[in-house]
Symmetry: C2
Subunit: 229 residues, 2 copies
C-alpha cells in the first residue's frame, strides 16, 4: 500500500498511461470469473450423475480463487472491484440470458466454445500488459480446466450419437453470434479498453489479424470435437 | 455414552455395523455440502449488489473444500462417495423444490434457519463418532460462515422495514415443516443411520432430549434476528 497517493491519483498520475485500461481489463476478467463460477455451479445441476456434478462444482470453486486474485490486484491498483466490474454486468447478462442451455451437452458446448474464445482473447491482450499483470492474467486463465473436461464429454457424446453434431453445431454458431454482438457493444462503450487493444495490436490491421487468430483457433476447436463451423 | 470404536477398526472391519453408519452419515453431510454449494451459488444471483454477490460466491466455494475433505475420508473408509450420497438426493431435492426462495431475504432466511438446524444436528451426532471423524465433522461445520452473514442481513432488513418480520416468520415455519417431513423420510429409510443416533443418544428418551435441544436452539435463533416461532 503506497500511503501518499490516494486511489484515484494512483491511477491517473502513474507513468503508465494504460493503468485505467488495465483496471478495465482486469475488471472484465474478474466479472467473467464470477459469472463462470455461477454458470458452472448452475450447470452442475444438469450433470447426469453425482460424480460429474461434484467435478463441475470443484472446477467452479477454482474460479473463485481466480476472482480473489484479480480482486486483490484491482485493490492494489486503487480500483474498487465492484465499480470496475459494473460496466460488464449488462452485456454479459444479456449474452447469458439469450443463451440459456437446455441440457447438459448444450451447457458443455457453451463452456467449450464461449470460454475458449474468451480465454484466447485475454491471452492475446495479456501480451500488451506489463510483466506482473500479464503473468497474473495468464495464470488465472491457465487454472481453468472446464474446457478440456467439456471437450471430452462432447466428443464422447457425438461418438455415441453422431446426429448430435448437427444440433450442437447450430447451437455453437448461435453462441458465437450472440457473443460477438455483445463484444461489439462492450468495445463501443469502453473506448479506454478499446484503445489499449488497438495500441497493443499496433494499428487497425493488427486488430484484424488478432480477430483472425481468434476465429481460426475457434474453428480448429470446433473441428477437434466433431462440430462444424 | 456411545460404544467406543477405534478408527482403525472402522477402516479394516467391513462387518462393523458402526462403519456403515459412519459412511452413511458422512455421505449425507457430503451431499449436504454439494447442495449448500449449489444453493449459495444460485442465491448469489439474487444478491442486490456485486460485493454481496462475490462474498456469497466465495462462501459457496468454501463448501467445496469441505466436500473434498469428506469425499477423501469416505474413500479412505472404502466407501464410494457417489454411492453413499445417492440415498439423500431425492429427499433433499424434494425439500429444496418445495422451498424455492423468491427473493434475496427468503434465500438468506432459508440458509439461516435450515443450515443452522442441520449444523446443530450434525454437531450432536458428531459426539457419537470416534475421535477422527468427530473432529472432521466439527471442522467442516465450523467452516460455514453463511449463517452469520445471513443473520446480519436479516436483522438489518427487519430494522429497516419491521413488516418484513411477519412474512419471513411464516416462511421460516414453512421451511421447518418441510425439513422435518423430509428428515422423517430419511430416518425411516436409513435404519443403520437411525440406529447410530438412537445408540449414541442412549435410548428413545435420549433422542427426544436431542430433538428438544435442536428445537430450542432454533427458537433462540429465530428470536435473535427478530423472527417469531
Amino acid at each position: 500500500m503506497s500511503e501518499p497517493s490516494s486511489p484515484a491519483s494512483l491511477i491517473s498520475t502513474t507513468a503508465d498511461p494504460g493503468a485505467e485500461a488495465v483496471a478495465e481489463l482486469l475488471g472484465m476478467l474478474a466479472y467473467g470469473e464470477l459469472l463462470a463460477f455461477e454458470r458452472m455451479a448452475s450447470d452442475a445441476r444438469l450433470a447426469p450423475d453425482l460424480d460429474r456434478r461434484a467435478v463441475l462444482s470443484e472446477m467452479a470453486a477454482a474460479e473463485i480463487t481466480n476472482y480473489q486474485r484479480l480482486a486483490a490486484r484491482l485493490a492494489e491498483l486503487g480500483a474498487e472491484p465492484q465499480q470496475v466490474m459494473t460496466p460488464y454486468v449488462q452485456p454479459l447478462q444479456a449474452y447469458h440470458n439469450r443463451t440459456e442451455p437446455r441440457d447438459w451437452l448444450e451447457a458443455l458446448t457453451k463452456a467449450y466454445v464461449g470460454d475458449s474464445v474468451a480465454d484466447d482473447f485475454f491471452r492475446e491482450v495479456a501480451a500488451f500488459l506489463a510483466d506482473r499483470d500479464r503473468q497474473l492474467v495468464l495464470e488465472v486463465l491457465h487454472d481453468s480446466r472446464y474446457g478440456e473436461f467439456a471437450a471430452d464429454e462432447i466428443r464422447t457424446a457425438i461418438a455415441a450419437d453422431p446426429k448430435l453434431a448437427n444440433r450442437l453445431s447450430i447451437w455453437a454458431r448461435r453462441l458465437m453470434g450472440e457473443g460477438l454482438s455483445q463484444a461489439q457493444h462492450v468495445a463501443a462503450a469502453r473506448p479506454t479498453l478499446a484503445t489499449l487493444i488497438i495500441t497493443g495490436a499496433g494499428d487497425q490491421d493488427g486488430v484484424t489479424a488478432l480477430l483472425r487468430r481468434l476465429t481460426s483457433a475457434h474453428g480448429a476447436r470446433m473441428n477437434a470435437v466433431g462440430l462444424n463451423n
